[in-house]
């Protein structure tokens, strides 16, 4: 069965270095996984729908499809630009509005871009705790790309080595994971509920 890798990119410009990094990671992950396909979700066109969901409590249209894709993904690659020493608000909003449990057990590769390598620990102090909270399995190697990383090339370049290593780790986590559709919140609530006699007995 083909594994589904969903890539979430919170880059805002075009071309975007965040999207560029997301594509590098997606290609490397597909290569490492073998039988896999990717779906890229750009958050910029979903920005208004995300604000609406914050207010109404439900997603519509392409945003609903994107959230469903993330919930059913075999792996997620999440890439954000660094804004004010953390992930961008748009990036956080997308993961804020996901249905509870949507990322339970899902391997997530975290990555970020910024103008300077001095922000590189954002992966460890912001992204990793976020996805740990969401009960995702975060790939040990996160990938950070500063402006200077785009100036080097070739397989020996530091960025390329980090991308390869992270992709290999992601593939190993995916391989160890059961396949098939995941239950959603309603299914899980129902399964956890038991019958009414059990509820009555507290």
């Amino acid at each position: 069965m083909t594994r589904k890798v969903v890539v979430v990119s919170a880059g805002l410009s075009d071309p975007s270095s965040t999207r560029l990094l997301a594509d590098l990671l997606a290609d490397a992950s597909v290569a490492a996984l073998g039988d896999a396909e990717t779906q890229v979700i750009e958050l910029r066109p979903l920005a208004h729908a995300l604000a609406d969901q914050l207010l109404t409590g439900f997603a519509t249209g392409e945003l609903a499809e994107a959230e469903d894709a993330v919930a059913q993904a075999d792996a997620v690659i999440a890439v954000t630009p660094v804004f004010s020493a953390s992930y961008s608000g748009l990036f956080k909003t997308f993961f804020d509005v996901l249905e509870p449990g949507a990322l339970d057990g899902t391997p997530v590769l975290v990555a970020a871009t910024a103008g300077t390598a001095r922000h590189s620990l954002v992966l460890e102090h912001a992204l990793r705790p976020l996805f740990s909270h969401l009960h995702a399995v975060v790939v040990p190697t996160g990938v950070f790309a500063a402006s200077e990383d785009w100036g080097t090339s070739g397989a020996a370049a530091p960025l390329a080595r980090r991308v390869e290593r992270a992709a290999a780790e992601l593939a190993a986590l995916v391989a160890a994971r059961p396949r098939g559709p995941k239950p959603d919140q309603f299914d899980r609530d129902l399964a956890a509920m038991g019958d009414f006699e059990r509820l009555l007995n507290g």
Binding site: L55, T56, T60, F186, D189, D195, F196, L199, L200, G202
Partner: protein, 385 residues
């Protein structure tokens, strides 16, 4: 099939005039709205319960409903909802049984957990216990209306020994109960277990979850032996704004929609209508959309509409009710064929066998129930019983 309105009693500034009604005005308007609902031929008026501004819904709905009962003759009085979590079930048993007597049986109630977090600690409760409170409190309420000598012990209130809730339900028939929930399967299960009604107030949500909750309730209703799944007693919320033509409806309602407390400043009116049961348009459009609810809910027994929120002035709401009366008259022509098999476990059946219909509008939820119909032609026999 019953049609009616439900209110949350919000005291909201009219965005088109900047005027905010006083609590006194809002409370009196609520009574006028209920009287109007009866006048235009609706079957049900339901009020929410609230304990915090900006709401002027009663903290104890029987206070309002008893007053309306005295000013009306036919309309059934209900709640949307009665908080089963933070109210003492003993007080619910007592107050609603008293209302049942005052209203000559012309009442029922809908239980809900309440979604205003701060309310729980005001009454010594914890919102994290919401489901457990709803389960335990209703288990007690259910007994209090059916047993005269109750020994009881639970987690959430002091034990009872040999307790008798007074007054006893009218003619020994407990008020009919609906359980309301948007997406907690425990509540659908609870409604099914007891053979009570299940109400999905799905006005702020897309229909997908509503469909799953109702399907669960129907299947479990049958599982617990209360009748066929398709005969389970489902109610739905709705939200309408009507005008003779759709352009006027949209134009008039948009300023209220755009800043409304629940969905304001978010999606456009058109987007919101496409995703939720909100229905703003001509009578024909509202009829069509309302009939569409059956596609995911199946045949259901009660449709309540929200019409008096978001700062709409009383004069507008009363005009809405005139139009809604026309819509409902038309909807009644599209009702499904009555169910043929009796649902023996339904409490209404017991009531009908011994009592006259006029004093027991509780009978009406099973209008489609054939057992009820013969009684409507025998008004006198039970009256002397």
């Amino acid at each position: 099939m019953e049609y009616g309105i439900f209110t949350v009693g919000d005291v909201t500034t009219d965005p088109t005039t900047g005027r905010t009604p006083t609590e006194h005005e809002r409370i009196k308007a609520t009574v006028a709205i209920a009287e109007k609902a009866e006048e235009v031929g609706l079957d049900v008026f339901a009020t929410g319960e609230h304990h915090n501004p900006p709401f002027a819904a009663p903290a104890n709905p029987p206070v309002l409903l008893a007053h309306i009962a005295a000013k009306t003759e036919r309309i059934k009085l209900s709640t949307s909802t009665t908080l089963i979590t933070t109210n003492d079930p003993v007080r619910i048993a007592e107050d609603y049984a008293y209302l049942q007597h005052l209203a000559d049986g012309r009442m029922d109630l809908m239980l809900g957990r309440g979604n205003t977090g701060p309310v729980y600690p005001w009454f010594g409760k914890d919102i994290r216990d919401g489901i457990a409170l709803a389960i335990e409190n209703y288990a007690l309420l259910h007994r209090l209306w059916r047993e005269e000598d109750v020994d009881w012990q639970g987690k959430f209130r002091t034990p009872l020994q040999g307790f008798t809730s007074t007054p006893r339900p009218l003619d020994g028939t407990p008020p009919f109960v609906w359980h309301g929930s948007i997406r907690s399967p425990e509540i659908a299960e609870q409604a099914a277990y007891y053979g009570d009604g299940f109400f999905s107030n799905h006005i702020f949500w897309p229909p997908e979850h509503t469909a799953r909750m109702i399907a669960l309730y129907r299947a479990r209703f049958e599982h617990y032996g209360h009748g066929k799944a398709e005969d389970a007693i489902v109610g739905l919320g709705g939200q309408v704004y009507l005008a003779r033509n759709s352009q006027d409806a949209i134009r008039e309602f948009r300023p209220y929609f755009d800043v409304a407390p629940v969905y304001g400043h978010g999606p456009s009116l058109e987007e919101y209508m496409a995703s939720t049961p909100l229905s703003v348009g001509s009578p024909d459009q509202v009829i069509e959309k309302t009939l569409g609810f059956r596609e995911y809910a199946g045949d259901y027994r009660r449709q309540l509409f929200l019409v008096d929120h978001s700062g709409l002035p009383l004069s507008t709401v009363l005009h809405q009710l005139d139009l809604l009366g026309e819509v409902v008259a038309e909807l009644r022509k599209h009702e499904p064929t009555p169910v043929v098999e009796p649902v023996e476990t339904h409490p209404v059946v017991e009531l009908v066998e011994t009592k006259p219909v006029e004093t027991h509008p509780v009978v009406e939820p099973v209008e489609t129930h054939p057992v009820v119909e013969p009684v409507e032609t025998q008004p006198v026999e039970g009256a002397s019983a």
